[in-house]
Symmetry: none
Subunit: 172 residues, 4 copies
């Protein structure tokens, strides 16, 4: 058993002495993400705008923010909001970012016979109805995306657009 008893310490010391971790302790985030990518502060602005809009609507939303790389940055589910919308809101944001367009635009394009019919089964599941919108900075550069799910599609689109607008406004 001795050999195993030391393993955790050994691994721990490896990790602690790695250059990445050492650098993080001086200035944790330096060099670790692209300048201009959606930040936690922006994600917070987006989530708050979403919840505010949902309350105006009387809806219960799941809201997901992904960064420019399509990776989850922030998420919240309002009390009582659909459990199904955890996945749907995340996938809406990922779909919007990965195709660089609002998911609303996929709705007609993915019906039988239309150009992208069947696209929804790629990428582990894409969402082809509205509620995913792009996040852009003041120069129009895509910095991430938002997905909202919890009401009618019209509700979801309105929430996602309110988020994107709040993020854009924060640059001005």
């Amino acid at each position: 058993m001795k050999k195993f008893a030391l393993l955790p310490l050994f691994v721990l010391s490896l990790v602690l002495s790695s250059p990445v971790i050492a650098a993080q302790q001086a200035d944790p985030a330096k060099g670790l993400f692209l300048p201009g990518d959606v930040t936690a502060d922006l994600a917070k602005i987006a989530l708050e705008a979403a919840v505010k809009k949902a309350r105006e609507q009387g809806t219960l939303m799941n809201v997901a923010i992904v960064d420019a790389g399509g990776n989850l940055k922030a998420f919240c589910r309002m009390d009582g909001a659909f459990l199904a919308s955890i996945d749907i809101s995340i996938k809406k944001a990922q779909t919007a970012r990965s195709l660089n367009m609002p998911t609303t635009q996929l709705h007609d394009a993915a019906v039988p016979g239309a150009e992208l019919y069947g696209i929804e089964v790629t990428n582990g599941g894409m969402v082809i109805f509205g509620g995913g919108e792009l996040l852009k900075d003041q120069h129009g550069t895509i910095i991430g995306a938002i997905g909202a799910s919890g009401g009618t599609v019209a509700n979801d689109v309105e929430v996602a657009k309110a988020d994107a607008a709040a993020v854009l406004a924060s640059f001005k």
Copy 2:
């Protein structure tokens, strides 16, 4: 292999002496699930109501019960019932709970061109035809859901509704 021989006993004694397990031995379920969630007793009532209704119909059903969190609570497959319906019945129950509505309501909403077209590929697969119904208590709070699969959709819906009614009746 000798060096491993002592480990299981060692770990076992660790586990047995942990506060979590100790508390469980005094009162096993205390604090481990939210009051009001569907219980094993209620699930049994639901399964029995399902089998009774299926026998009246002359159908062979798979029946799945999930709790308020959408996690499988109980399941049974009648002799000769469809193997495909194992997954379908579980997903019907999870779909109903995760959208807080009977799966029948998704049937029209998910056809090509309709609002939720494509929703079935989210969440690892949702079921968009009838046979998933919500389980509610006497106050109308959602405590879980049931999925029935094995006959025509009309059969499945009838079985699932009979279950939900049996659960509701048990509160009165």
Copy 3:
């Protein structure tokens, strides 16, 4: 829209008039499963034996029964039992049946350097610790398997063995 309006009725009539469904209405299960396979009645005996044993132990179990084909036949989760054990109990039963041995036997065989090292990542995840046991009839024919999960591994093994014994006893 007309074209779509008729579709549900059309499909329904197809289903209703299919020979399979028609046969089911006369004698629903005839020809639909192998003689000797685990039945719903046997599964019920197994689940009840499991719950009885768990109560003696003061543990909270998830118990899954699979048939000779490795397909889920019945499942129950006691109130407060681990959510993780939904999947673990089902996989224990499937592992036992798919290798025709109790999962306890995999424990030593799957450690690094042993013969089956790494087997647990096949089949979408196998369980390589105890709690999966075979169900056999009076002739020793494997008719299914049981997986129990919720206590220590020793607890789980005891519950699964009690189940297998109860099923075997029911043949005598």
Copy 4:
């Protein structure tokens, strides 16, 4: 495409007039989640406590909160935090809740030869090192869990414990 043009409006009006949605507009969350489950307000407290602790540590964390059913409730990733930790933090929280114990307790139990060796491949992947902690209310009832990932395991555990403490303190 004309023939589809009317469908969305048609379905939308169906949805808007459904009793479920109508009830939601009066009191959106009524009956839709079990009383006592982790709320969005509690999740926010947990995320803020996590970020505060991470800043003290000089680490960059991903933090995930799941509810009593193991479903994602809230998530944030600090700028520059590991992308791998999106999944790890979510799975840490789900692992803790689904086994009702901190993930630290799995570390020794899952080494080769120990009792739960191989458990990490079940449930679509569990995390067997520290950083997942339970969230409890003032009565000791489990109301969810938190997963923190981004530093050394010791960092992660410290962050997760700070979160759990902040949630518990909010009840007093």
